[in-house]
Symmetry: C2
């Protein structure tokens, strides 16, 4: 008779088997080593640097910038926001070329898209959003609604399951001009039914804007096929663009010449160097630009796009599923009995790539874990968010993280 | 009897003497070498990378980002926009701490400041700007004026001499709420009387917003002492922050809690991580922020701020004077007789650090010069702009540039 292994041993063994069989396993060596970090569980907040990022930037400083100097604007920099946007569109968004651009921050791009979408909507028109949305999304919508005399309607879905097409349908009115929702909830990780929700929004005659911050680069999507109108997303989470890297925006091709964003700058004008007397927006996605493209800030994400191209978004999604599934199994085996709550959908098809756990001790637990080289995200008032970026995270790392939480919990 | 040297020989000799006596001469070695570039004359459009920029970024990628990971937000990144802003304020703007922040692009910050300045101004109020202003400034002001029912009044000063306090005074009305002008004209290089103009604007009860893009880091100023209300500027010109580096904004301390900018994002909220239900702007300059600070994009400018700290802005200005003076002497000796126009003030105290020349052939001339490693800026319809960034440019380089223009002119 053999002894039954303790849960930690069994979990680490299961993780070892998954890692051994992982077709993407070799990708974890493609990232900069993090000295003293035993488990990085916050790839959904700040992705790790891809190996070679420093070399890429060094070559850029000596070459394109230091030697090409101002000539490099003609030789590629002007086109970079569109080239990178198209690449993100193709690899991560299911978007054909000419509909995605890299610029600004998520907040500024959200502002531009919401403002463009409600331009011309008469006072009394309505915008439907979710009360649990990320603050920037709510703040942008509320500010613009107030400035334009529009009303904000709020959805209050189940905080774990997230919003459904039926709930969205019930929240729509004849006056709803725009719906702004998040594809993967930044807290629960709930994955919204983008196709279904976009369809009910269109049935009501409104425009649909998706925030892709917690899904771009980890959850496959088909913006073109599903008829999404507008989207924004972040490049420093699963696209590993570095802290504060520029964001991206998507505008469906047919809409592009009908929308006008309010931050009228020289880079969005029809003829950038004409220095003409009147602002006329450029054709296509260039009209989304305002100031000079943030070239330096656009460099690091290129390494991750190379990896994503090699791995393929479907394989990334598959590993995301096994990572989050194993993390939830580990929760069940070592944290559930300790009074920790699971605040993420159990159905892998209904969640993104992070798992939210809740316990009153978690603020102090997170502080201790960070000192010990185990790095999840704390989300007040009492959440630990385990973000599992598939290309840079092993199953063993996910298990070590959960075990470390268990060890740090007060008795 | 000795022979009279030809103008080129005499100019190069004069340049050699100035370089030999230049107290800042050693700074030219502090920049990345530009292989094959004989004269870089566009430091006012894109400053050269400071030596060590690549190493700074490599250390950042491996350390703060790659190993510190998300922890680095707590350990400095959140504060970086304010620390860098204060440093720019102290070294370049004559601004005490707590009034300058680094963020976004010049266009986006202009939009925020103009919108904040006209918030609450009743329809019919007026904004005074200059017709020859940089397009982004005009586009932002026109867009916001139209959206808010305000009228734009235009100044048409002499295009070489630039705008005077008397012209501004004559353009002000009882309804003028805001004046937006550029400290150094992006074409002529004319340096406006910031103190005098700000005073007449205040006498009329309006707010004064200065665009410092072509003066920050090269022309000393005293924003605090002169009572400037608002200012924006660029960090990729004389602050050498790299292509598309984030911009900076200044808001006079007493105004900060009275203004509200419209791009309401989480980073500008009173409690960033409360994720609370309602947007309340943070105290002080944090309310100018919207999205996540562009940390990677803020790295390269730090090297130039180190150099500026060592050199001192007054010494930089003195070298700027000798550089532009020599360039104009060279123009007089080899270009004036060839039908080239000087479109920059001859009085060194009335110009910034660039010189504008005009000739119908200059588009083709610029194309040829770029191929030959002499790099000025072309400004349509027929201008060559010679930007002389004092720390990275020798007097000999300025002369070589003018001689190369002379050689490239059609007979």
């Amino acid at each position: 008779m053999t002894s039954v292994p303790d849960p930690a041993t069994a979990l680490l063994a299961a993780a070892g088997e998954l890692d051994a069989a992982d077709p993407l396993g070799s990708f974890v060596d493609e990232f900069e080593p993090a000295v003293g970090v035993d488990a990085y569980l916050d790839g959904n907040s700040l992705g790790r640097p891809v190996r070679g990022t420093a070399d890429r930037i060094s070559r850029f400083v000596a070459g394109e910038w230091g030697t090409g100097l101002i000539r490099s604007w003609d030789e590629g920099w002007m086109q970079l926001p569109f080239d990178l946007g198209d690449r993100i569109g193709r690899l991560a968004l299911g978007a054909a070329g000419g509909q995605t651009v890299v610029a600004d921050s998520t907040t500024v791009l959200l502002y531009k898209l919401v403002a463009a979408a409600i331009r011309g909507v008469p006072a009394g028109g309505r915008i439907l959003i979710e009360r649990g949305n990320f603050p920037t999304d709510r703040f942008v919508v509320e500010g613009l609604a107030e400035a334009h005399g529009l009303q904000v309607d709020w959805l209050d879905p189940d905080p774990i399951a997230g919003v459904t097409p039926a709930e969205v349908a019930a929240g729509l009115t004849d006056l709803t001009a725009l719906v702004v929702l998040t594809h993967v909830d930044y807290r629960s990780g709930a994955l919204a039914d983008m196709a279904g929700i976009t369809a009910v929004v269109h049935d009501a005659g409104a425009l649909m804007l998706w925030d892709l911050c917690h899904s771009a680069g980890v959850v496959p999507m088909r913006l073109d096929e599903w008829g999404v109108d507008l989207a924004v997303g972040c490049s420093y989470k699963y696209l590993n663009g570095g802290p504060g890297a520029p964001a991206f925006a998507y505008v469906r091709a047919e809409l592009q010449d009908r929308i006008e964003q309010p931050i009228q700058g020289w880079m969005g004008a029809a003829d950038v160097f004409a220095m003409g007397p009147i602002y006329r927006p450029a054709d296509g996605m260039r009209r989304l630009l305002s100031g000079t493209p943030p070239v330096v800030g656009m460099l690091p994400m290129q390494g991750m796009l190379d990896l994503l191209e090699r791995a393929g978004i479907d394989a990334v999604r598959e590993k995301s599923r096994t990572l989050t599934t194993l993390a939830i199994r580990a929760y069940d085996e070592v944290l559930a009995e300790r009074g920790v709550d699971l605040l993420t959908p159990r159905d892998a098809a209904r969640r993104g790539s992070h798992v939210l756990l809740g316990h009153p001790s978690f603020r102090a637990v997170t502080e201790q874990l960070w000192l010990d080289g185990v790095i999840p995200d704390f989300r007040g008032p009492q959440g630990i968010r385990i973000g599992l970026s598939p290309l840079s995270t092993t199953h063993a790392e996910a298990v070590r993280g959960i075990l470390a939480i268990a060890a740090a919990l007060p008795d």
